[in-house]
């Protein structure tokens, strides 16, 4: 049999769209100018920069002037949190976030805590959803910023962003959302959702690594954290990465035009995976919200199984997936997200994340669904933790028959 080569790890990164790559190359070779130069080469680059700004803004219903280009999601998160905190120190020193944020948020908040800020990390329920009452109760006179991610990178749960935006607005608190996973996968309207700051990363929506943007609503002032030339409205110094930015602009256009179809296709594939796995494999748990989730992302915990062994077995069968835990990167710490959702350590170790993308097909999903039961069965039989009588049938209908 021919060796498969199936990519189910789009939450990690995506392949650059061929039209995007072509355009990037053009801006590396022929149109290589520095956007700050006054001559024709510079003007050409500047024009492309501003066109890309429009394209990115349009994807989230923002104004072009509200877009600051950065090197990626991590920098955008750092700029948003530190920029707001440092600017508003006199107004208050309290920030509200959640326990399941990406480390780009969590570690930046830790840094701010070391520098005199106080942070409330909201807990989440078993579906990784925050509770709006918890949010309201956490607000104090000192609160200057709420930062809640749009969609979780490990389990895919989408937060009630519009409601959070409303609460923030009522209390006159800035609202930042890390939308790195949501961009190109969800409808985002910063006006309707009352979002003041939003982070995105180019390589999660078929553009290149090393590109990102921070949306900052008009009138919201943030402190620069990187100093130098007067680029990006004095907020982000450094010669603009024109090829990357131009590519991200085109990728944003492609994502916007195809968004409805993209969501529809991925949701269909996602639901097929969820329904089949829950019906055919016993003692399995879907992590994250059943419906309020990213269209292409599933995360399962298979009892009695190490996530690492599962990933290696899938890789040998030609399927690239990832684990909710960081086992493969050399740490045995289970995922902070799964632990926050109330999973025990053992279950949090056995999770599998599949994140589907634009190029995946139903045939690929079917191949995965065909091989996964035997891999799970084989690994369970070898597990010292496994006891067949512990196996619970997850399909409620089967349980009825057994009774």
């Amino acid at each position: 049999m021919e060796k498969k080569n199936i990519y189910f790890d789009h939450s990690a990164t995506t392949q650059v769209d061929s039209a995007v790559a072509k355009k990037m190359l053009e801006y590396m070779t022929d149109k290589f100018g520095n956007a700050s130069s006054i001559h024709s080469f510079g003007r050409e680059a500047k024009k492309a920069l501003e066109e890309a700004r429009k394209q990115v803004a349009r994807l989230i219903n923002a104004e072009p002037t509200e877009i600051i280009f950065t090197s990626g999601g991590t920098e955008s998160d750092n700029l948003a949190l530190k920029g707001i905190a440092l600017r508003n120190r006199k107004k208050g020193n309290h920030i509200i976030s959640s326990q399941i944020e990406h480390h780009a948020i969590l570690h930046t908040l830790e840094y701010l805590e070391e520098n005199g800020f106080k942070v409330t990390y909201l807990p989440v329920d078993e579906n990784a959803m925050i509770n709006l009452e918890d949010l309201k109760n956490a607000i104090t006179d000192e609160t200057i910023l709420i930062s809640i991610m749009f969609a979780n990178n490990e389990v895919g749960t989408i937060q009630p962003i519009k409601e959070i935006g409303k609460i923030a607005k009522e209390h006159d608190i800035y609202f930042h959302t890390d939308a790195v996973q949501a961009i190109g996968n969800c409808h985002i309207d910063v006006r309707e959702m009352n979002i003041d700051l939003l982070s995105m990363s180019g390589h999660k929506f078929y553009s290149s690594k090393g590109t990102g943007a921070l949306y900052v609503r008009k009138g919201v002032r943030i402190e620069a954290i990187q100093h130098g030339g007067a680029h990006e409205r004095n907020i982000r110094a450094g010669t603009e990465n024109i090829p990357g930015i131009v590519g991200m602009g085109l990728a944003a256009d492609i994502a916007r035009v195809n968004l409805d179809d993209h969501i529809k296709n991925l949701t269909k594939l996602r639901d097929k995976i969820i329904d089949t796995i829950l019906a055919e494999i016993p003692s399995v748990k879907l992590n994250g919200h059943r419906t309020q989730r990213l269209p292409g992302l599933v995360n399962f915990s298979f009892s009695f199984i190490e996530g690492e062994s599962l990933l290696l077995n899938l890789d040998l069968k030609g399927i690239a997936a990832s684990s909710g835990s960081a086992c493969t990167s050399g740490s045995l710490d289970p995922s902070h997200v799964l632990l926050s959702m109330g999973l025990n350590h053992e279950t949090a170790h056995g999770s599998l994340r599949l994140s589907l993308g634009r190029h995946n097909t139903e045939e690929e999903v079917d191949y995965f669904l065909e091989i996964i039961p035997e891999i799970i069965d084989k690994l369970r039989k070898m597990s010292p933790l496994y006891n067949p009588s512990d196996i619970k049938v997850s399909n409620p209908c089967d349980q009825c028959i057994n009774r």
């Binding site: 690492e308 062994s309 290696l312 077995n313 890789d315 040998l316 086992c327 493969t328 050399g330 740490s331 045995l332 084989k378 690994l379 070898m382």
Partner: protein, 352 residues
Amino acid sequence: MSIKEKVLIAMSGGVDSSLTAALLKHQGYDLIGLTMNLHESINDEAINDAKKIADELNIPHYTVNFKDIFQKKVVDYFLQEYSFGKTPNPCVACNKHIKFQALLDKAFSLGANYIATGHYARVSYNDSAKNYELLKGIDKGKDQSYVLYNLTQEILKHVLLPLGEYTKEQTRTMAKDLGLKIADKPDSQEICFIPDNDYKKFFKEKMPNKLQKGNIVDKEGNKLGEHEGISMFTIGQRKGLIAAGKPIYVTAINSTNNEVVVGDNEDLFSNSLIAQDVNFISTEELRDQIEIEAKIRYSAKPALAKLFLLDNKKVQINFIEPQRAITPGQAVVFYQGEKVLGGGTIETVNNI
């Protein structure tokens, strides 16, 4: 088309395991490369070397985390033995618990029926006895069978050690011929998890409360000086002191009295020991008394001896000639010619 046998190969990034991979690949096995991440001192360079080799050979390669089990079974054991004044061999513990058992478990979970390592030793099947034998490597200067005495029939059945058939020189030449980029990499010698090969510093950092000052005494018990803790000493070590114009050596470590006993070179020789935690690779030929050659440390020459079974896991070894600096905590390994019968941990040393 016949289905190729799947083999999980442990790849450290060094010459030996890389060549092992190359040899097995050329023999037509379906290989999966695995680098075990055992402790903080494993650098990215070694892992990258292993990945590069796997890439050259076009085999899948993974890095897996064995840090927890390595800490428990090797590092903690190592520190504990030293705290009792013994001199452990961590490689023996690692080969017993991790390199082979944990690796084999991983192999099965990946659908491989064999594991391979770059040890210089041989495995062969004895048709008449119907069991597997562990044999010395062809290169007697490089033979590593000493550290493998804990292997069992169950494991040997699934182990490939292709380098046992070659000398180190041959492997380097073959690695060069095959164009492997690590052919000239120096051999690793030290204890892998101890930085700068300084076990004393390592022990002081990890077990600061276990160092207790005590006396240095002669064999009659007369106090000659003081020491900073018995864990800083090993049998046969020269103290650097000159007593009556002769160098003196550590001849015994007494953990009950927290004493280090010193004496002349002659005091280092003993003709008997008791070993515990004994493993016999095959129990076929076990009798109450067996003529063997015994190796009391990795670098020692095998010496003629008689082995007496005390019980299942305990033996007494009586040497024909007294041996110098037999050290509790080290492994004693029993040979008959090329064959490894088994081995154990030296518990006590006697003169009979």
